[in-house]
Symmetry: none
Subunit: 255 residues, 2 copies
Amino acid sequence: MFRSRSVYDFLPPQRNLGKNLTDLKSSSNSGVGQNTSAQIHDVLVGRIQKGELGLKDRLVDTAVAAEFGVSRMPARDALMRLAHEGYLEPSTKGFTLPRIDHQEILEIFDLRRLLEPRAAALSAQSLSEVEILLLEATLKDARFAMEEGDQENLFRACETFRNGWVNAVSNSSLRKTLQRYMTQVQAVRMMTFADPENHPIIVEGNARLFEAFRQRDAVAASDRILRFVFDGEAAYLAAHEEAQKHKTPSAARNG
Amino acid sequence: MFRSRSVYDFLPPQRNLGKNLTDLKSSSNSGVGQNTSAQIHDVLVGRIQKGELGLKDRLVDTAVAAEFGVSRMPARDALMRLAHEGYLEPSTKGFTLPRIDHQEILEIFDLRRLLEPRAAALSAQSLSEVEILLLEATLKDARFAMEEGDQENLFRACETFRNGWVNAVSNSSLRKTLQRYMTQVQAVRMMTFADPENHPIIVEGNARLFEAFRQRDAVAASDRILRFVFDGEAAYLAAHEEAQKHKTPSAARNG
DNA sequence: AGGTGATTATTCGTATACAGTTTTCGAAAT
DNA sequence: ATTTCGAAAACTGTATACGAATAATCACCT
């Protein structure tokens, strides 16, 4: 499944067309009165944030247009908007995920240390009861997946957990900034997830963060997410050292 | 001069066409290898920042396209990009200057308090000697413009000053995030600039920030930019109170 | 005379088409 | 067999055209 061409080239356009269009146009809850460009934009953002795009995948407007059953223009608008927002990188040949190097990853850890403590504090104050219950369920899923050694579900649960509390951040500008770096965060996570030794650190970090959320303790949430980011950076640095030692770039692939 | 229709409706298309096209395509220094959309975008950004657009002016893609002598598509791309960047607000009838949401402005001040201290500290360490000299010259320009009462040049000088030190931020992810919110920062600035009482606050704040830069004092830079943001928020809140009190939207016009 | 409905006009959104540019693949020659 | 040159394919940018939606104006009815 390590394809160098766009994912959409190999998907039957008709099926995806119908599926996505019904997803887009029937559900009035998600993409309400939006136009086609905005709907495509949102779907692609979701895919990027879910890590469904490989680093070598190229998003081409014609392919996207074919998948959604529209002309190139809405697809192009969506892609250009994504590029401007930093989700994608424009090139002479299609749009790709921005390739992240070691230096930039360290920079993003720096940024996360600046932003996420405040974000977690805000979430601790604004999370609703049901959202907290959802977070708890997700945390339980993560624990179960870790014990089962199910790396994929663990990854997914951690992502759901993070999305859960980030979406509750009341400062929408801050929230959008965090979501913008979600893709890089995911990429780094995939590296650290490769080593099962890190799994307890991740799950326990989330658990302690959740405890702060449940107790509505903004200060504790702030402290614990900061600690979590530091731990994540340490885990990344260890993984990076290991990768440098072995000189195997294939470890950076999405598993 | 308080017109409700678009400015471009009353301009002879041919003259502006020729003027802007030569401006765009002949000068290879400003809009280098950019495409038509980007060039139109930059011209319109300049106009907006210069306050050449009234709150009731509507930018319509067909009019912009006619003015620049291109088709609707590049004009539409530029307008949509401007809208996404926060310079304009899309509506059912043309693009207008955005009514700036009070809540969102406060959110962005929050974000700035999180990011800019670190950014200024990094700049204090990474600014080159020539960049510092340029900042000094810009600061001198700002002082001169303030004494002359030249609001436009004061605004431009402050923008240049900010761009100068933000571009020196060594953490590129942090820098890009700041630049992304630069537009909203500018929008808020335009409100506070309307009251000349704020001009000394702004210039003196920049001057103290510059002193920290020149002394390579990262701690002082961090502290002073934080203070500067707080002062800016206070000035904004005062302007907001004033506007609410009078309930006269005409006071928000660019006088 | 005032309100309500319909019609018209304006503008946005989308589709199709075309030109320019770059990349890649293949063939031929050394 | 390798390298280089050329051709074709693909992608982007731009132009023109058409359909849909919304707002404004006018006419008709009360």
